[in-house]
């Protein structure tokens, strides 16, 4: 999976750093390899500080199969050169995954674990699990098994099985190691134990973290609840005000006059005018009953959760994502940008009786929403603004005509043409 750098590149890098010719770097590395080989041949381990160690490990004679013929053959015992990275290197290499932690997944049937053993290890693993039948906890751990395989020194050729036996049995009571235990075995033990402790610690941390997540979630939910509560309290009276204003004939007249001088009309007012201007389409009695029977009916409160956009909210609320400007319009004061919602915010969502079949006034509201989106886009991404103007026109040509004085001519041409 990994890319490789060539030996030449390596030599070049080192030469540059150590200020010597590439030839001499080359010679140095070859010399080093020879020294390591000679040392390994003499049965020594070569330890390189901060990197790892090389050692020989004796692999016992074992049965195998000729992959071409399928015949059973005996693979003679032989030495294998093994490199064991030290902790610093292990951690450095594992950087991409360092934040992952073990998870408790509960009891699993024994055979599933056996399946998950890689076929390469299964040979050795089975011999060890046989050996460790008396001390189950150790032999059951896959890590332990693997560690034993990996960390096994090249032992006395005949006695490796016996040593392993000893190892597996002694593991649980490692404190009472006999004094004659080999130093290497001791280190294997210690590493095993420390690794187990590590796993344990990881899992422990995991637990703590989960606790704090739960606590945080509860606090967040409480605060959201409070916010919603506070938000909802002043709401009903305000809405009733609006509707009552809308029904007072005097105010309607004022609005009508405003309607005639649209030039410097604020968009907020626009909506009101639209409300009142379309009283013919929506009978007042009906509007009244709506506000009274469900005061939430006109504006549904919606708390933004992660990953939501106005588009997706419109999709879920109206099952028509193209109606999203309606929501934007209703929350324009709170929103800096139609593209950016902050999680946990409460949005007011205008209710629609039948999103599939919009009334005239609703179409105009959507169109007004598109106009206000257009205004925003015009200031931020002028090249895309015309599409929103066109969308406004597709919902209501009248609104487009009304707004035509404040828009870019080229955009208007695009919107009316298409």
């Amino acid at each position: 999976m990994s890319d490789k750098i060539t030996f030449k590149e390596l030599v070049e890098k080192i030469s540059a750093k150590t200020e010597q010719s590439e030839q001499s770097t080359n010679d140095f590395i070859h010399e080093l390899a020879e020294i390591i080989e000679a040392s390994l041949g003499a049965g020594e381990k070569i330890s390189i500080a901060g990197f790892g160690k090389f050692e020989l490990r004796w692999m016992n004679e074992r049965k195998g199969r000729n992959p071409q013929t399928g015949d059973e053959i005996t693979i003679p015992g032989q030495n294998k050169v093994v490199f064991k990275p030290y902790k610093a290197l292990r951690q450095g290499v594992n950087k991409p995954f360092e934040n992952l932690e073990s998870q408790i997944i509960g009891d699993e049937p024994e055979n599933r674990q056996a399946e998950s053993d890689s076929p390469l290890d299964s040979n050795a693993a089975s011999s060890i699990s046989k050996a460790g039948a008396t001390s189950q906890p150790v032999s059951q751990t896959e890590t332990t098994v693997e560690d034993l395989i990996i960390e096994r020194e090249s032992p006395v050729k005949s006695g490796s099985r016996i040593l392993l036996n000893k190892l597996a049995v002694k593991a649980p009571t490692s404190d009472k190691r006999p004094a004659d235990a080999d130093d290497d075995l001791t280190s294997v033990f210690d590493q095993n134990l420390s690794r187990q402790e590590n796993i344990a610690r990881e899992v422990q941390q995991n637990r703590n973290i989960r606790w704090s997540y739960t606590a945080a979630a509860v606090i967040v939910m409480l605060s959201i609840f409070l916010l919603v509560f506070i938000w909802n309290q002043p709401e009903p009276p305000r809405e009733q005000n609006v509707s009552s204003i809308a029904e007072q004939p005097g105010i309607t007249q004022v609005d009508d006059t405003q309607e005639t001088e649209r030039t410097n009309q604020r968009i907020e007012d626009n909506e009101q005018v639209q409300n009142t201007g379309n009283d013919n389409a929506v009978p007042p009695s009906m509007e009244e009953s709506e506000t009274i029977t469900n005061s939430d009916g006109d504006l549904i409160s919606h708390t933004v959760s992660a990953g939501e956009s106005l588009w997706t909210i419109a999709q879920t609320q109206y099952s028509n994502p193209y109606l999203w400007p309606l929501i934007y319009k209703a929350n324009q004061i709170d929103l800096d940008s139609p593209n950016l919602l902050s999680t946990g915010n409460d949005l007011k969502i205008p209710a629609l009786d039948n999103p599939e079949k919009l009334t005239q006034s609703e179409r105009e509201k959507v169109a007004l929403g598109y106009i206000s989106v257009y205004d925003w886009i015009l200031n931020n991404q002028p090249e895309n603004a015309r599409y929103f103007l066109w969308a406004a026109g597709s919902f209501s040509q009248e609104v487009l005509r009304d707004a035509s004085e404040n828009v870019n001519e080229a955009d208007l041409a695009f919107a009316t043409k298409g």
Partner: protein, 97 residues
């Protein structure tokens, strides 16, 4: 063989000072380490190839919790000895046990 012994052997073989030998060896393995940390592999003639590989996540039995835990995937160093080194040492007496 300890690190210091390796350094002195190299310094004798290359006829350089010990501090210089240490510098060279350090640089070599530091470079190796850097490349490995970036997920790149390096072959060293006469010694072998260092690579990284991903060890898949797997479930293991944790004796401490007496239950199974899921061990996350890991990136590990993979060393393959060069065939020359492997064959030369195949039947060498390893008398350290």
């Amino acid at each position: 063989m300890t690190y210091n012994q390796l350094i002195s052997k190299v310094s004798v073989a290359r006829d350089i000072s010990k501090s210089r030998a240490k510098e060279l060896i350090d640089e070599l393995f530091l470079t190796l380490e850097k490349e490995l940390e970036e997920g790149k592999g390096v072959s060293i003639p006469g010694l072998g190839t260092f690579r990284t590989k991903i060890r898949e996540e797997r479930r293991v039995f944790s004796p401490h919790h007496e239950t199974y835990i899921m061990v996350p995937p890991k990136r590990v160093v993979d060393f393959t000895p060069s065939s020359g080194l492997k064959d030369n040492l195949k039947f060498a007496e390893s008398d350290d046990e």
